[in-house]
């Protein structure tokens, strides 16, 4: 018991907590995944999914199916559920639910800006955007030449505006600047979300701060590994790490100077929660690191449902659905490429 949430939570949040717990019971089980992993074609996958909650979204899709179609339709289901919850939510839950989509908004902004830099058609780029991250003036991003214009013309009226203060420059946009902008925005978003959850207090703060700290730590590791061998300097790398999390600040100091995966392992193994993740990998190997992190994340997200009267269940449900969609994407790709032996490389069971 953190406070007296049990007395008042259900007044405004009771209905939606019941809804999200109902949605959670619709997540695919290990038995569903075993059936899907034995499919020979994408039409078999569609047939198996027709018996699940994805059925209505896939039933009208003509053959031959494509893996991107399956992912798109499954994502539509998630978007519909999210919109239903958002329209029913009151403050502060509605703001909390909006925070969950800012990551997708950042990804969409970067997609449009990068695609425009590569002289791609804006309509084509808009079709590739994640539906949870759409906003009204997103197409106008294509006219901006630098970050200052990006902010002034478009982003000043979006929820991402406060996150731009650290990355406004007049330099022309190029691949490295865009990457730094992406990670700087995401860092600012995570820190802002963290502060918001702390202000909410109670079980929400306790559980969400743990989940967001894990997210921040995972991002730090991914940024480190992805920047090995690139032009990103140690100082620039250090600036992209969030200012919270288990690794902050001493772990970040060690990660900033890592030059290979074994040094990253050395830095991370000092922290017991991450020691178990890295113990699953052999030395010099990083292919299974993503799966190990996803498994740990799923474990923490499932634990969020063990308590009542907090908002973390909404965040946990959205993330678990996204993991499920990733699983379906991977299974579909392995079936389409006739590589079923590799299907268990990246599938993370939720239940």
């Amino acid at each position: 018991m953190y406070g007296f949430e049990a007395l008042t939570f259900n007044i405004h949040g009771g209905y939606l907590e019941a809804i999200v717990r109902g949605y959670r019971s619709g997540l695919l089980t290990a038995a569903d995944y075993n059936n899907l992993c034995q499919c020979e074609t994408l039409d078999d996958i569609k047939m198996h999914l027709s018996a699940t909650e994805y059925g209505p979204y896939l039933q009208n899709e003509p053959s031959p199916l494509h893996t991107t179609t399956i992912v798109e339709k499954c994502t539509l289901k998630l978007v519909d559920e999210y919109k239903h919850m958002l329209t029913q939510a009151t403050e502060p839950l509605s703001t909390f639910l909006e925070y969950i989509t800012y990551g997708h908004m950042i990804d969409n902004v970067v997609l449009i800006v990068t695609g425009t830099l590569h002289e791609r058609d804006v309509q084509e780029l808009l079709e590739k955007c994640h539906p949870l991250g759409m906003f009204d003036s997103i197409a106008t991003l294509a006219v901006a030449q630098n970050m200052r214009e990006l902010y002034r013309l478009v982003l000043v009226d979006t929820p991402l505006a406060p996150y731009f203060s650290e990355c406004i420059t007049s330099e022309d946009l190029d691949d490295m600047n865009i990457e730094i902008m992406r990670n700087t925005l995401y860092k600012a978003y995570l820190e802002d979300f963290y502060r918001f959850c702390q202000k909410l207090g109670g079980a929400t703060a306790e559980i969400m701060c743990d989940l967001l700290a894990f997210e921040a730590d995972r991002r730090a590791v991914n940024i480190t590994i992805n920047s090995i061998g690139t032009e990103l300097t140690r100082d620039d790398r250090r600036k992209l790490y969030s200012n919270f999390g288990l690794l902050y600040p001493y772990g970040h100091e060690e990660l900033a100077v890592c030059e290979d995966i074994d040094q990253v392992r050395g830095a991370m193994e000092k922290y017991p929660p991450y020691q178990s993740i890295f113990s699953k990998l052999s030395y010099g190997e990083s292919q299974m690191l993503d799966k190990a992190f996803y498994e740990e994340e799923v474990k923490r997200l499932c634990l969020a449902f063990e308590q009542q009267f907090h908002y973390a269940v909404f965040f946990a449900y959205m993330r678990l659905r996204e993991q499920e969609i990733r699983n379906l994407m991977w299974i579909s790709e392995c079936v389409a490429q006739n590589q079923k032996a590799r299907v268990h490389d990246s599938v993370v069971f939720i239940f």
């Binding site: 695609g115 590569h118 990083s286």
Partner: protein, 207 residues
């Protein structure tokens, strides 16, 4: 005497035709092995691409991000056509725009190809300080070539972002290996067709 001379001539002809048949069979064997290697490199590449998309997200690894601006091809193919001194055409892959001199480029390309394929592993390590130090002791050129090729590789991947997953880099190496196999297949096919022509000529001469 004349009978033995005729016998020796026919023995030499038989040896020559056996040699042509053996050349043909050797070329066929190499061709089939290379086709198998190409198929396996492409399968590996496509799966690694799916893995990279799974890791980085579909919006970051997408055909919508391909760069449509004009730029020089980082890798080119040189064809030396058949002529009086050359039996069959020869194809050479010049990778990662290492130099403007075609001969020097092919040597650099071969060297770089051998180094990268040896070093390809599950590790995301792209810079090998120990290896570079030992090379630096021998001479500065291989280190510079390695760094230049690495820079060109990262530049071509930068359309997906400046910080890409090691899985996407593995994908690049797999497709690079497939491209090399394709060029090798072209060369082997050219020698295979030449050997086949020789065998056909020998058959016509004996009938």
């Amino acid at each position: 005497m004349q009978t033995s001379e005729n016998g020796m001539e026919s023995t030499n002809e038989l040896s020559e035709s056996d040699r042509h048949i053996l050349n043909f069979l050797d070329s066929m064997d190499s061709y089939l092995i290379l086709m198998d290697s190409l198929s396996s490199a492409l399968r590996q590449g496509w799966l690694e691409l799916a893995s990279a998309r799974h890791s980085m997200g579909a919006s970051r690894v997408s055909s919508a991000l391909f760069d449509l601006k004009s730029h020089n091809a980082p890798t080119t193919l040189q064809v030396n056509n058949a002529g009086p001194d050359v039996e069959f055409p020869h194809f050479t892959l010049c990778k990662w725009a290492l130099s403007s001199d075609p001969e020097k480029r092919s040597e650099e390309a071969k060297f770089e190809e051998d180094e990268m394929l040896q070093n390809k592993s599950n590790s995301p390590r792209l810079q090998h300080p120990e290896l570079q130090e030992s090379k630096a002791e021998g001479g500065g050129s291989p280190v510079t070539i390695g760094n230049q090729a690495q820079k060109e590789r990262l530049k071509s991947l930068s359309m997906f972002g400046a910080l890409v997953s090691p899985k996407l880099r593995s994908t690049q190496l797999s497709f690079e290996k497939a491209l090399e196999a394709l060029v090798e297949i072209s060369n082997v096919r050219a020698s295979l067709l030449c050997a086949y022509d020789q065998v056909q000529k020998d058959l016509k001469n004996t009938t």
